[in-house]
Amino acid sequence: MVLKDSFGREIDYIRISLTDRCNLRCFYCMPEEGVKLFKREEILSLEEIEFLINFFYKYFSIKKIRFTGGEPLLRRGFENLVIEIKKNIPEIDINITTNGILIKEKVNFLKEYGIKVNLSLDTLNREKFKKITGFDFLDEIIEGIDLCIKLKVPLKINTVMLKGINDEEIFDLIEFSREKELIVRFIEYMPLSGNDNWKKFFISKKEIMEKIKEKYNIFYQEKEKIAENYILYDDKKFVTKVGFISTITEPFCDFCSRLRITSDGKIVLCLFDKTGYDLKEFLRPRIREKKLFDFILKTVKLKPEGFVALKKTFFDKGENVESFFVMRKIGG
């Protein structure tokens, strides 16, 4: 059966956070000063994750999953999880969003199991990378990117645009995109938990486009679920393709088909809805499949309209909106 919310949106995509741990400390997600991490027993076990994926496939025909985090490649047993899932559901579409640090160790596996990669990279500048993330891993990441390209692992770059930090790198990122023949998607910065500097860092798609137009001709090509893709030309030829994920200025809530599960097993219906709906209750001490099924149907009906409905309040009031969600527990 089709899993639908109260707005008629069909859920066909599950995003599961495998861990709240990360090997970076990006200031807007996982600040240095400390985060309260889940205890081991609070996190869903690999068996539980496998069960849930099979469950959503069996009852709701959901075949697309994305592993997020924290940093999903940090989760021990990641490979075994993928192997088991693929055994049960050969046609499953597995995606991962990663910071790319561990890609070079896992790239052969990613290739073998047809995993598609979104790589979060906000800067190409080593010093700035250290400033944003707290670590000096840019070289490893570029190595990982090159290996993906070499082995033809599908790869997209996700760049959160931060005014005064990486907005001056727009042309470097475009050049990187052109050189590597990879699409870079510019993502509008979202207001995150424990963080009231949204206004300071936010730069809109429009502002980025204006900047791009200083040097290139930009043409709208296509919409790809949440991203809008444009192609860039200079005077002589095609330069590259870029995407925009404009969560704030052009919310795409009407097309939202995703369900998120946090690493501690809670359903999160929307990034702008703090409520977590606990699934562990139906998995421990033993699995109660019928109750779980009913719970999921009921919970999905609670999915809110989304940011598109909040936007008016958010912008009009201009106040410091209270934190909506905690990124490192969901993975965006």
């Binding site: 023949e181 001709n217 930009i218 043409f219 709208y220 192609i231 030309y233 002589k236 095609f238 590259t240």
Partner: protein, 75 residues
């Protein structure tokens, strides 16, 4: 309406842009340009109307801007 040429097409037509009147749709525009610049017909290109890539035929208005773009490669 304004027609823009990029890359190889710019080399063939020896123009980066030209003004045209009285063309109703893309098919008519292509016919017009093929007659004027026969070499274009051999080329592969994309067409963008008002900065949006088009496929198939499209009606055109006097205030439209039509760009003829060389092929996309890679990416």
């Amino acid at each position: 309406m304004k027609v823009l040429f990029f890359g190889k097409l710019k080399e063939i037509t020896k123009k980066s842009e030209m003004e045209i009147k009285g063309i109703k749709d893309l098919s008519e525009l292509k016919s017009f340009l093929y007659k004027k610049f026969p070499e274009i017909e051999r080329e592969i290109f994309f067409i963008a109307v008002n900065q949006k890539i088009c496929d198939g035929d499209t009606d055109l208005k006097e205030e439209d801007e039509i760009a003829f773009l060389p092929p996309i490669s890679g990416g």
